[in-house]
Symmetry: C2
Subunit: 307 residues, 2 copies
């Protein structure tokens, strides 16, 4: 069992979907990543920042799900990062209604002593300088996984490229892969991104699943076709948490094992979208996960006689 360091936002989200809307509820990349990874009983630490307005109950909840919160800085006279968004009817696109950085504007991440030797580092979506700050504190990680988004490609590309050069795996969506590489074909895009540093590229395609690229190999993971998507918020982070959680648990960072990790991430993400915010992730049973992994198996399994 490897230690897992998770850096990312711990936040308040207000979400509106065609099915309803929420007030400020618990959200943030690190929250979703940590909850998802906790299904593998890994020894994880959250590196993040919140304000004095952040309920102590939420922190206890993270701890009770096995996360070390020494690296979760609390700025008593500050306010927690807030994001508000509204999803369109197709659930594949959304408008950001508000982004209030608050305490995140001056975030200086501190990795707790006991986690500087962690083997797996999950860099959730944040300013590349913050992500680099975490990398620089690690002693000798076996696997660094980076999540990022188009926003940083637009406004902090130089810093982002420096982070990309240092990571083993990058997870981005299809449009971001095209933007980063300047290539339309995802195959060519992934090749170009691997030349920037990462040995593995994971391209997330939402309802169409995900692609894993490594050298000349490609693995295509489906998404579970769902009758209803209630709230997509956090699905990508839940995927990343399942992916890194499984890798930290097994300690095997091979291409073969990464394929399995992607299926675990996809299965966990398929739960996340069933309810608002983190609600579904907090009620998840081992039996349900087991059942869903079986569904992924039957979804993709076929018999071919190569005569």
């Amino acid at each position: 069992m490897s230690k897992l360091v998770i850096v990312g936002t711990v936040a308040f989200d207000a979400i509106e979907t065609p099915f309803g809307k929420t007030d400020k509820i618990l959200g943030g990349a690190a929250t979703y990543i940590g909850l998802s990874a906790s299904n593998f009983k890994v020894n994880s630490a959250i590196i993040s920042i919140v304000g004095g307005d952040f309920p102590k109950d939420h922190i206890s909840m993270l701890e009770s799900n096995g996360m070390n919160v020494e690296g979760l800085e609390i700025v008593e006279d500050g306010k927690t990062f807030f994001w508000s968004g509204k999803y369109h009817n197709d659930m594949n696109s959304r408008d950001t209604l508000a982004t209030e950085l608050n305490v995140l504007a001056d975030f200086n991440p501190i990795v707790p002593e006991a986690y500087k030797d962690a083997e797996v580092v999950m860099l959730g979506n944040l300013h590349p300088l913050v992500q680099m700050g975490v990398i620089n504190q690690m002693q000798n990680p076996g696997l660094i996984v980076l999540d990022t988004m188009n926003f940083w490609m637009d406004c902090a590309l130089t810093e982002l490229m420096q982070v990309i050069a240092k990571v083993d795996v990058i997870t981005i969506n299809d449009e971001e892969a095209r933007q980063l590489s300047g290539e339309y074909s995802l195959v060519v895009a992934a090749q170009k991104i691997m030349e920037m540093g990462p040995k593995f590229v994971v391209i997330k395609k939402g309802e169409h699943g995900a692609l894993l690229f490594h050298e000349d190999d490609i693995f295509s993971a489906p998404a579970l076709p769902l009758a209803e998507v209630f709230d997509p918020t956090g699905a990508g982070d839940t995927f990343a948490g399942g992916f890194t959680g499984y890798l930290a648990k097994t300690g095997d960072f091979s291409y073969e094992n990464m394929k399995t990790a992607i299926i675990h991430g996809s299965a966990l993400a398929s739960f996340c979208v069933e309810k608002f915010g983190t609600e579904r992730m907090l009620q998840l049973s081992k039996k349900e996960i087991h059942q869903r992994l079986k569904q992924f198996k039957s979804l993709t399994q076929f018999d071919i006689q190569l005569t």
Copy 2:
């Protein structure tokens, strides 16, 4: 080995893609379906119509690929159906520049006597009344597969619904499935379409692969991620030809075998887009197909320990 009846256009296409453009070249749904199915050495018949301007060489080529052409009517003083289109840079959308129905305007399909007992019928994209005309001539087919498109949903929905009620499998793309069912979720859309008649629904998602629905089961087939798509014309028909060709060859119309048939269809379609028109399909070796089927296997194979 079952007999396979194929109805669809045999046509001239003029195609423009970012990679170049063609004059009038051989095209048409029945052409692509027939060429694709011919890889399984099935006993097939093409039911279609061409004008006196259609080269005898093309007809010989269809025959030399094992297709019976008794049902290919030649109207000596008529002109062959002509379609012209231009693909956008992303290759996922296109503009139709010209559609000249010509002899297709008065097409009355005749199934040759020797093929009225065929077990498999592939209804390529055509007016639903023509498709129904073929169904009505068949004695007792074991499997009828329908391909159609949004154009018929817009202008001949009543006739299309009558055809849909009579077929075993329908293949349509994701947007068409949504239009036909009025549902955004493809899972719900497929359920509603099954209530219209077909026991199996195949939803084609282009570069994202295809989904097969049957009762409560779902199978997700990937598309092969390609570095370069040269010309997507005919890919859907090539998929349908591989699908029905494999089913006709094996005579097994079970859900399990249909999954394998979809992989065969997807593999053949992945070749079709590598060159303009039918060019790639005419040079295809058994070895190349074998190799590509192996790629599909490695693309989707993963190992999961359900502990």
